[in-house]
């Protein structure tokens, strides 16, 4: 498995740490209801198909990456920096 880091180029999966779905990016407001925090921390679409998830180039540039990826075929169709993500 290979990922194309926007800064470092295509690298082996061994260099990356996987966190989870992009949901982790959408942190609720500090005073949001606990239900919102529950959804943020735990509930997932978990699609069998295209998803966006978070990878960390731990043995590389230390950048968190937002990866568009198919969970059935493992095809990767996009990688962007979390810090510079569009939406």
């Amino acid at each position: 498995m290979r990922l194309r880091c926007p800064l470092c180029g295509e690298r082996d999966r061994r260099e990356f740490y996987y966190y989870g779905a992009e949901d982790y990016l959408h942190r609720p407001a500090a005073d949001a209801a606990l239900a919102e925090w529950d959804a943020y921390l735990h509930l997932r679409d978990n699609p069998a198909g295209v998803t966006r998830d978070l990878w960390y180039h731990e043995a590389g540039c230390s950048q968190w990456l937002l990866v568009t990826r198919n969970t059935v075929t493992h095809e990767i169709s996009g990688v962007e920096l979390v810090a510079e993500r569009k939406a």
């Binding site: 290979r2 966190y19 990016l25 942190r27 606990l34 960390y56 230390s62 075929t73 979390v82 810090a83």
Partner: protein, 970 residues
């Protein structure tokens, strides 16, 4: 027997080897199988379940029968394919899976019991009486099962792993693969050509023929010469591509030294990870057996293998050969045998319209319905229409057609497609992104078809790479149509084997269908068909056909099982190369490592680090004596410990304080420059992630410390919080854990010891930090304590660490102090009630450890919201307490109310850390106890069943030593 004038073996290089204790001679270029056959050894193994006598069936890695143990000077290797293992001088081998000798295997009694040992029989019996399953039946089954043996000794062999990258990976070096490699190579692409066998050429080596108007062997030599000369082409012999993985990654196993006498440092195998932009699968096809009664005797062989042994190795399996085949192609072997002077008793062709004129009898429309010969074939029974007759023969060459070697195309869940004309599965296009199957692997069965498709795939690949395809004329070659009538099984009396290796017969498959195991997956699992060392290569399609027939469905509707990696079995040692001994994980050493070892300190693992356990002195016989002394030394004089393993993160920027406020529960933006503060960090789910101190070195400059265990975790966490939630803040950070060596100096004489190293007098308040100069080197001094005594941590750049440690220790010793290790460090912190990851084990909240007040009400922080969930606080949770006892107690023990029954429901908590305190003269523990903070002063019963400990303790505050903190601030 060896045939004069045939074969590619080097007859000038004879080789001696042994099989089952007997000496044999072969030639360089022989496999063990060919050399044994040349010596007329037909019986080479016993089958898995029935212990039937077995001989060589194939000439490749798909061999199900001829599995042997190779005995090396130091170890043995089980289940080696005799058809792959090359002979070399001194090769020692023996047969396996037998009780007694190969000729008289006592377990052959199983073969007589076959009516009771059919598919799934073990699910229906051995249940009564219950104790007999584990006591009697199972041990017997285990002993009878299995094939070869491991020695039980460590595998001390050398194995390697390597990465390779290329534009085009070509798998297989027959006509299709060679053409693909040549085309891509001439176009200038980086090419890797992998060949499983010990010579390039594929079927050219077995079948001969002509290519481009010249003998195929000559064409092969020309192409190889050109490929070898191309700097962009890498030829890899004895290399099997074993798996296709995501994004162009392939696994491959190279047999580096298995064909040579063992010598030190000769690598046995190398496991390759090949990353290829394009791949061409030119792995050919595998001939398939026909299931007729007693089709498993030594002397019965695939027709293509008979041809390989004849043409490549100069060996004939018999003196009087019979051919049973359903294709025109298979006739060639009979003609070549006759040309070589071997008698061909008959050709039996089940196709009613088959060609009948050969230089030997041809029985058109005939079928083999039985065979004879206990340890080797002596004759067969043939049925032709209504008549049956016997033929005396010592070798039966059989062919039921061919299956494309499409296994790699299934590794990423691709399902092959049934091709009615070929009566075989062919690869699904695009099943592995970037991989194209060509030649026989894709169902193009002629040499011409192989050349055309190999060339086309390479052209496609080089064009996709942006290169110009070379102008390469396609050589002419045979292009006969491949016509067959599918023949899977012949009806007749007795058992007809499908899966030779696992002893699965057509009866088993029919029984599975009869019992409702009609799905192909159920049939496979119920009968174990396809689960033997040949992974179903010889039997999957035929078993499927028999199942389809038994269930009244067609083959496409019945479906197929999936081929999974690896293509051929790969040794654990090869894929695990580098993992032996300390190679499994990196080792991290302190700068003081050698100094500690010099002092006789036993080093223990702390994560990946090694830290000194204690520093023994002459006369001390137990670790406790040393530990107690070191504790007293710190409490009474001064001790030195290397604490460099703690994570250190340098944080800078205008928003650094704000950032720390966000990741810590408490506030750091208000911390004055020159001061240090203890901080608590939560996970976003409200549990404690880590704790440590952070120092403010300048207005926009902090230094965070983490625990040893969580250093990497915290760094990753900070990066996430920053990049995900506040990427626009002016803050940057980097791990400097390995840049600084840091030493704790603790005890009443700590100040004097530290001061003696400093160039100027530094008077630090408790929780202060200052830049210092130590022997001309810029360092940092922190006044912090993990022991409860007045304590400092002195940090210098790593390269000065060892020198400073040796000096600190030497000078401490003049003051009645010295070094202390992890054991004493642990006692000191327990006495003071300081927690480590024994306490913050991931299920603990700030509330549990009595630090809920550290969660600032004035600001948001990571984990604050989720920590408010009702389950994360409250009296039903276990809270940190101290325990005191006068008898030995233990960590891992559970707590109960004295007098109450002991079971899960009455469990009150558990102990996390324990020590004997030389300071207090008592056993101390840190523990978690339900509603513990309200129970100080209570008696509690500590029970450790495993260690036989049952002690009444007193519940108390976790801070045992100097609760007011006067010593810290002295």
């Amino acid at each position: 027997m060896r045939i004069d004038g045939k074969g590619l073996i080097d007859r000038t290089k004879p080789v001696r080897f042994r099989f089952d204790g007997k000496d044999y001679a072969g030639y360089k270029g022989d496999t063990l199988a060919s050399a044994l056959l040349a010596n007329d050894v037909r019986l080479v193994g016993r089958s898995f379940k029935y212990h039937r006598p077995r001989g060589v069936l194939t000439a490749g890695s798909e061999e199900p029968n001829a599995l042997v143990e190779v005995i090396g000077p130091k170890n043995q290797t089980p289940n080696v394919r005799a058809t792959v293992q090359e002979v070399f001088e001194g090769l020692e081998t023996r047969s396996q899976n037998r009780l007694g000798s190969l000729r008289f295997d006592l377990l052959a009694v199983n073969d007589l019991l076959w009516p009771f040992l059919g598919a799934g029989f073990y699910y229906k019996t051995f249940m009564w009486p219950r104790a007999f399953w584990e006591g009697l039946y199972e041990p017997l089954i285990r002993r009878a099962a299995g094939l070869g043996s491991l020695s039980g000794r460590h595998d001390e062999g050398t194995y390697e792993k390597a990465f390779a990258f290329c534009d085009v990976l070509v798998i297989g070096s027959g006509p299709a693969g060679l053409m693909a490699a040549l085309t891509a190579g001439r176009a200038g692409a980086d090419v890797i050509l992998c060949e499983e066998s010990h010579a390039f050429g594929g079927r050219i080596l077995s079948d001969g023929g002509t290519i481009g108007g010249m003998p195929a062997g000559e064409w092969l030599a020309q192409v190889l010469a050109e490929l070898e000369a191309l700097p962009n082409v890498r030829l890899m012999l004895r290399t099997t591509v074993t798996g296709a993985y995501d994004h162009g990654t392939y696994g491959a196993l190279e047999r580096v030294g298995l064909h040579k006498p063992a010598r030190p440092n000769l690598s046995r195998e190398c496991f390759w990870r090949i990353v290829a932009k394009h791949a061409v699968l030119a792995a050919g096809a595998l001939e398939r057996p026909v299931a007729f009664p007693d089709n498993d005797r030594p002397g019965i062989m695939l027709a293509s293998a008979v041809r390989t042994y004849l043409n490549r190795y100069g060996v004939s399996l018999g003196k009087r050969v019979t051919l049973f085949a359903n294709t025109d192609q298979a006739r060639a072997v009979a003609r070549e045998l006759m040309a070589a002077g071997v008698t061909v008793a008959a050709i039996i062709d089940p196709r009613p319209d088959a060609f009948s004129v050969e230089d030997c009898p041809v029985h058109v429309g005939g079928e083999v319905i039985g065979t004879r010969g206990r340890l080797g074939l002596t004759g067969i029974t043939v049925r032709k229409g209504a008549e049956t007759f016997e033929i005396e023969t010592d070798c039966l060459a059989m062919s039921g057609g061919w299956n494309p070697t499409l296994h790699l195309t299934c590794h990423m869940n691709g399902r092959p497609r049934w091709d009615e004309d070929l009566a075989a599965f062919v690869p699904m296009e695009g099943a592995v992104p970037g991989l194209v199957a060509v030649g026989a692997a894709n169902g193009s069965m002629s040499t011409h078809g192989a050349l055309v498709t190999g060339h086309a795939a390479a052209v496609q690949a080089v064009q996709a790479l942006g290169r110009k395809a070379p102008d390469l004329p396609l050589p002419e070659a045979e292009d006969r149509p491949y016509v067959l009538k599918a023949l899977w099984a012949v009806e007749g009396k007795g058992r007809a084997w499908l899966d030779f290796a696992n002893d699965v017969t057509t009866k088993d498959v029919k029984l599975a269908a009869q019992e409702g195991f009609r799905s192909v997956e159920h049939m496979k699992r119920y009968t174990t068909q396809g689960m033997a060392p040949d992974q179903g290569k010889n039997s999957n399609v035929a078993a499927l056909a028999v199942l389809a027939d038994a269930t009244g469905r067609g083959i496409p509707e019945t479906g197929t099982t999936t081929f999974r990696p690896p293509y051929t079995p790969v040794s654990i040692a090869a894929m695990g190369a580098g993992g032996r001994a300390e190679g499994f994980a990196p080792q991290r050493f302190l700068t003081s490592d050698q100094a500690s070892r010099d002092r006789g300190a036993p080093m223990i693992e702390a994560g990946l680090w090694y830290r000194p356990s204690y520093f023994p002195k002459p006369g001390e016989t137990t670790w406790r004596e040393a530990c107690d002394r070191e504790v007293r030394m710190v409490r009474e004089a001064v001790g030195v410990a290397d604490v460099s393993t703690l994570g250190k993160i340098d944080i800078q920027g205008k928003d650094a304080g704000r950032f720390l406020d966000f990741v810590y529960t408490n506030t750091f933006s208000t911390l004055p420059v020159g001061r240090v503060r203890y901080g608590l960090m939560l996970r976003e789910d409200g549990h404690v992630l880590d704790d440590g101190t952070s120092a403010r070195l300048g207005e926009d400059h902090y230094l965070m410390t983490t625990t040893t265990a969580a250093a990497g975790l915290v760094m990753r966490h900070l990066d996430f919080v920053h990049q995900a939630f506040c990427a626009d803040w002016q803050v940057r950070f980097i791990s400097v854990t390995e840049s600084w060596a840091q030493f704790a100096v603790a005890g009443p004489k700590a100040r004097a010891l530290v001061q003696s190293f400093l160039e100027e007098t530094v008077d630090l308040p408790f929780m202060g930090v200052a830049p210092v100069r130590v022997g001309g080197v810029k360092g940092r001094l922190f006044r912090i304590s993990f022991s409860g005594e007045e304590g400092y941590e002195l940090a210098v750049p790593t390269r000065y660490g060892e020198a400073l440690f040796r000096d600190l220790v030497a000078r401490a010793e003049t003051m009645g102090g010295g070094p202390y290790g992890m054991e004493a460090l642990n006692v000191l912190r327990i006495e003071k009630g300081f927690i480590t990851h024994a306490e913050i084990h991931g299920r603990v909240t700030a509330h549990d450890i009595g630090m809920e007040k550290m969660v600032s009400a004035k600001k948001d922080c990571i984990g604050k919201a989720a920590a408010q969930r009702p389950g994360l606080w409250g009296p039903e949770r276990e809270q940190l307490v101290g325990l005191k006892a006068s008898a030995p107690i233990s960590a891992g023990a559970h707590l109960f109310v004295p007098g109450m029954e002991i079971h899960r429901e009455t469990d009150q908590g558990y102990v996390t850390s324990v020590c004997w305190s030389p300071t207090l003269g008592a056993w101390l523990a840190l523990a978690f106890l339900k509603d513990g903070r309200n129970r100080h002063g209570e008696k509690i019963r500590l029970v450790d069943h495993l260690r036989g400990i049952d002690v009444i303790c007193e519940v108390c505050d976790p801070v045992f030593h100097d609760p007011a903190g006067e010593k810290l601030r002295a």
